[in-house]
Symmetry: C2
Subunit: 129 residues, 2 copies
Amino acid sequence: MHLKLTTADGVPIYLQIADRIKRAIAVGKLKPEGPLPSVRQLALDLTINPNTVARAYLELEHQGVIYKRQGQGTFVSPQAVEAGRKERAKIVAALLEKAIVEAAALGMPPSEIAAIYGQLMHRYGLERP
Amino acid sequence: MHLKLTTADGVPIYLQIADRIKRAIAVGKLKPEGPLPSVRQLALDLTINPNTVARAYLELEHQGVIYKRQGQGTFVSPQAVEAGRKERAKIVAALLEKAIVEAAALGMPPSEIAAIYGQLMHRYGLERP
DNA sequence: ATCGGTGTATTAATTCAATTAGTACAGTGC
DNA sequence: GCACTGTACTAATTGAATTAATACACCGAT
């Protein structure tokens, strides 16, 4: 488990850890049911506090990407990939909802919301095939 | 100019002031080219620091809702209503962009983004006529 | 049972941004 | 020059986020 952390470029350590692990799973470096380094071990490697690693793991557990067995260790969840997909959907839905609720609160007509949405999707090349 | 401020329900004073003034304009209580209370006067009324009022005015100026004449005072911009509309669009666009950029970064296919968007618009009854 | 491993809980130190205020400065017009 | 306008700069306060210290609780093998 070789993680490279950029010391404080603004992104919290625990989020960096969580992100690296999710990528490792997506790429296949970490396989379902495979063990993650222990909280203490990873903390030693990175010269940080065990609690910081624990927090990263907690984040991942909430996302359903990993699970823990008390006294034994932490493992990649069998449905890690699918869980990652659902988590993505949740994040995006929350952001979209925020925008839509704000628009509605400001009295913006649906047609205008749709127009802005369409422009943005187009700008980022996200046309439907 | 009677503003009622709920002391620290979490919303910053300067934002509350800006909001009240925008509503006053929208409702017609403040008319284009009409004067706003001076920074000092309003600060006295509200028993707060002039700089706090100034900050609220700065916010509104950035949004094109008011303008200042040095040494004379602050006035409602002629295009205040239209400016308010544009400001709304900017806010909503920024929020939507955040969501779309995040979705793209997470590798979510456009069809899925569109699906979530559609669901949300439907949930909030924002169908196009 | 106890040892060496696992994760957890509680609390505190630190840092950082946001908010507000104190105070002194600068422009305008009578 | 006086009385009014907004402005600049600095500092106090607060509150949330992040990280760490340290002590606790669980598991499995010896």
